[in-house]
Symmetry: C2
Subunit: 189 residues, 2 copies
Amino acid sequence: MNDRRPTLLEYALLGLANNQPRTGYAFRKVFEATPMAHYSSSPGSIYPALQRLDERGLLESSVGDGDTLRPKRVYTVTSEGVEALRAWVSQRVTREDVIWRPRELMLRFSFMGGLVDDDVSCTFLEQLAVELDGYARSLEEYRSAMPGHGPPHGVLAMEAGLANVRSMKTWAKNALRQFLPSQRSDGRG
Amino acid sequence: MNDRRPTLLEYALLGLANNQPRTGYAFRKVFEATPMAHYSSSPGSIYPALQRLDERGLLESSVGDGDTLRPKRVYTVTSEGVEALRAWVSQRVTREDVIWRPRELMLRFSFMGGLVDDDVSCTFLEQLAVELDGYARSLEEYRSAMPGHGPPHGVLAMEAGLANVRSMKTWAKNALRQFLPSQRSDGRG
DNA sequence: CCCCCCATGTAACATGTTACATGATTGA
DNA sequence: TCAATCATGTAACATGTTACATGGGGGG
């Protein structure tokens, strides 16, 4: 048996199934058509992943009217699956997440809707901003140690990374405003 | 024999070796310490990758004074390796690159220094800007089709993607100015 | 009737992860 | 001498990629 934590692909499937039950083919179409999640849409990755999630009890499948071979199989998330998803999105945002797994972070955020309370989204965005800030500072430090002579490619690539981190930070701060409990307390205008 | 094109990790090793010959351990240290390239620094990935590159003739290795077991092995890029690297960085920037492989793009750019003429960097940045622009437009279109009601997470995640693409575009346009052949032609001030 | 899209799956393969094993060198 | 760091590698395993195989249903 396989007790590892789910892959990113598996979490993506779980999150999509949580929005709406789908067939394997429908999952594949989402990965092909959607610009959001950058996962392979090949049958060789999707179907085995769905089978694994089924075996672990995070998804369950029901065949449609079944007298054909190759029955159409619809996957629905189980309560255990919902819990796994909730635990995943609610994890603390770490510096490592920001450095190594920014896509996973955005995937987590995008699955929060309807799954967790707004204060979880709020905490997520606050932690994200903090970690992005710290990372930006370490990048700046790193850059200042780079040689000013020679080809500028290294420094420029560095600056691309920095610009990226900063834009994400700006985004997080703006997004946060939509989740903060309303600022104006009921008294006064 | 394995004739596939090199992995991203292998290109990263090739590029680093092109800057300076290193031991396997030194490559690992770079991946641990550098914020730029997000690759695994585990021996289980690095050493086999170096062996593959050696077998394919893109790297060659020389052992230091060798009467010990476990000789220290220094990898140097071959002329064939340099050619492979040059071909890789010089490829046309496609929409798919921008959507699915932005990190690879930045890696390609950062290895251009000292490897190709400035007009290659120039072309790269121009193509990059064009493709980013097209991608941004398709993202905007996609976003405008999203539901305005319900949890805002999806729309926000979308906007994060957009902000990211736009910041990269701005970067590309700024970087381009450093590679454009000097605007003022020799006549007049 | 044929082709395309819907739909599900498997097999071979390469890569990367994790954990382990080993040995050399350097400084406290 | 002991520990840390330098240094190289392998084995088991899971995942993902590519290519292939199969079959139903609808439209031209």
